[in-house]
């Protein structure tokens, strides 16, 4: 599709992601070769100046993150393939289309921070991706592409919170996936207490292209402050619910109307939730916004994982947000009170509103609770859980009020 810009997915379905040779034929492992010839400082500087920011949601400059890693005898490179954010499957697609780029990216990071061991933490729902990755690693090792860098795949087991980097580390260590207090950050004390860089699949997979084509080239693609491409997954009421790779200055309305082919069954648009289930709902008047991290932030939304859920005019927002509040109650790990109790109460109040048993006072209560959770929850799960609620009360308040008891 002409609208797309395929970088990570350029050779999708044309090469076998399991075979290192296939990847090498289309220029693969050249970036790692180059990285190994550079001095470490220059390599980190190159990644820093490319402007590559984390694709897992937080948008932190990747080279900057690596530069904080202190000297230590053992360090780890960890790839976050937990991908639990509902509506998101882009990391699976990147693995299924271009797994070798992920492996190369991890080895580039290993070179930069002087680590010899990588882990890929893959969600338990993707056993077939684990199999694919193990074959891909075997093949890369067999042709000597990874040198002395080793990669092991570990499996998650169905816990959304394990996408949070410190919970993920706990899980690799064989514990319950409960987030740790920060600091220390994983870069300083991570897996088994040693310096650990955690990056998303898409972040790692962009590195080979940055190394081969240059930081300057990468920095010139898309939005200047969040350059590069982003893989999006489009779901809901659109004609073309699939994945796309676009430059980061692509407009949200074009995602829906050009790539998505517009709203299904000739209906009208009502709302779009960007960034997965913890994202804000965006009304029509804000669609003329670029999808990059900062532009989304400026309209009170977040790019997050790049999931885009489109709802048509007939959809019941309050019902959908009620379902979402169940998600957070279920996925709260229970370690901290604002989230354990807060997600429970959010779900309870949302059900009350959805059932037509609530009053204006319940709306005020849930807004207050949201404030507390945002400030007091330990990790991003509890902090973000109220966003779908507050954003829909803000933009679609009439849908809530329609369900209230008439001032009982």
């Amino acid at each position: 599709m002409a609208e797309e810009m395929r970088l990570l997915l350029e050779h999708a379905d044309k090469i076998d992601p399991r075979q290192a040779e296939d990847y090498i034929k289309v220029g693969g492992y050249k970036g790692l070769e180059k990285a190994r010839q550079m001095n470490r400082k220059d390599l980190i500087q190159e990644v820093k100046s490319s402007g590559l920011r984390g694709r897992g949601g937080a948008g932190f400059n990747a080279g900057m993150k690596w530069s904080f890693v202190p000297p230590a005898p053992v360090k780890y490179v960890v790839c976050n393939l937990d991908e639990g954010e509902p509506g998101t499957y882009k990391d699976r697609i990147i693995c299924e289309k271009n797994a070798q780029a992920l492996l190369e990216g991890m080895a580039i990071c290993g070179t930069a921070i002087e680590s010899k061991q990588g882990y890929i933490y893959c969600r338990g729902e993707y056993p077939f991706v684990v199999e694919l990755l193990n074959k891909a690693i075997q093949s890369a090792k067999a042709v000597g592409a990874l040198g002395d860098f080793d990669i092991e795949v570990r499996m998650g087991a169905g816990a959304y919170v394990c996408g949070e980097e410190t919970a993920l580390i706990e899980s690799i260590e064989g514990h319950r996936g409960e987030p740790r207090f920060k600091p220390p950050f994983p870069g300083v004390a991570g897996l088994w207490g040693v310096p650990t860089v955690v990056n998303n699949v898409e972040t790692f997979a962009a590195l080979p292209y940055i190394l081969t084509k240059g930081a300057e080239w990468y920095a010139s693609i898309g939005a200047p402050k969040y350059p590069g491409t982003k893989v999006l997954t489009l779901t809901g009421d659109v004609n073309n619910p699939t994945y796309f790779e676009v430059p980061t200055n692509y407009l949200l309305k074009d995602v829906i109307y050009k790539l998505g082919g517009g709203i299904k069954n000739g209906k009208k648009f009502k709302a779009v939730q960007v960034g997965g289930t913890s994202g804000a709902f965006i009304p029509e008047q804000n669609l003329n916004t670029s999808i990059d991290f900062d532009s989304m932030g400026a309209i009170g939304a977040a790019l997050g994982s790049g999931a885009v859920l489109v709802l048509d005019e007939t959809r019941d927002i309050v019902d959908i947000v009620t379902r979402i509040s169940k998600f957070f109650e279920h996925e709260s790990c229970g370690k901290c009170n604002p989230c354990r109790e807060g997600t429970f109460r959010c779900r309870e109040i949302m059900e009350k509103i959805n059932a037509g048993r609530a009053t204006e006072a319940d709306i005020n209560n849930i807004l207050l609770l949201a404030k507390v959770m945002k400030r007091a929850a330990l990790c991003g799960l509890g902090q973000a859980a109220p966003i779908p609620i507050t954003s829909t009360i803000e933009h679609f308040g009439h849908e809530y009020r329609r369900k209230l008891l008439q001032y009982a």
Partner: protein, 148 residues
């Protein structure tokens, strides 16, 4: 069937490998038997309470006996708007069980799950981790008849 001790011992050199061991046990038994939890605790050097705590933390792991085929219905928002509720009701009706239950013949267990990362073809169910796409209430009997 492989012995649970052999399964656990084959993974004992993996640092923090208790979750990998639980996965391997589940692939064999479809759940994690109590004696296997005790054994895994011993092999990985944690208390039995800790091992149990791990096994029960993760929704993909089960410490209760389940059927031969585990059906998981995704009810996250994209599948929800695509009609997941109607599919759940159809499966419950077809199998004569409620969510969380196993059929009397031990063939099917029905569970709910959050997004399984196959949202290009909602609503989605998985049967023993294999995704089934674009499920609808009318298709349920035909889909399930494939599992013998």
């Amino acid at each position: 069937m492989a012995n649970y001790k052999d399964i656990i011992n084959s993974l004992q050199d993996k640092q923090g490998g208790i979750i990998e061991a639980f996965h391997a046990l589940q692939r064999e038994y479809n759940y994690i038997p109590e004696e296997a939890i005790t054994e895994a605790a011993k092999v990985f050097g944690v208390s039995q309470a800790q091992a149990y705590g791990v096994a029960t933390f993760y929704s993909y792991l089960s410490v209760e006996k389940r059927g031969k085929y585990i059906i998981r219905m995704c009810e996250s928002a994209p599948c929800h708007v695509a009609g997941a509720d109607a599919v759940i009701r159809a499966i419950e009706k077809h199998l004569g069980i409620k969510v969380g239950e196993t059929t009397a013949d031990g063939k099917f267990t029905l569970e709910l799950t959050e997004c399984v990362g196959q949202c290009q073809a909602t609503p989605v169910i998985t049967v023993n981790s294999e995704p089934v796409f674009n499920v609808s209430a009318v298709k349920v009997p035909e889909i399930l008849s494939a599992y013998k």
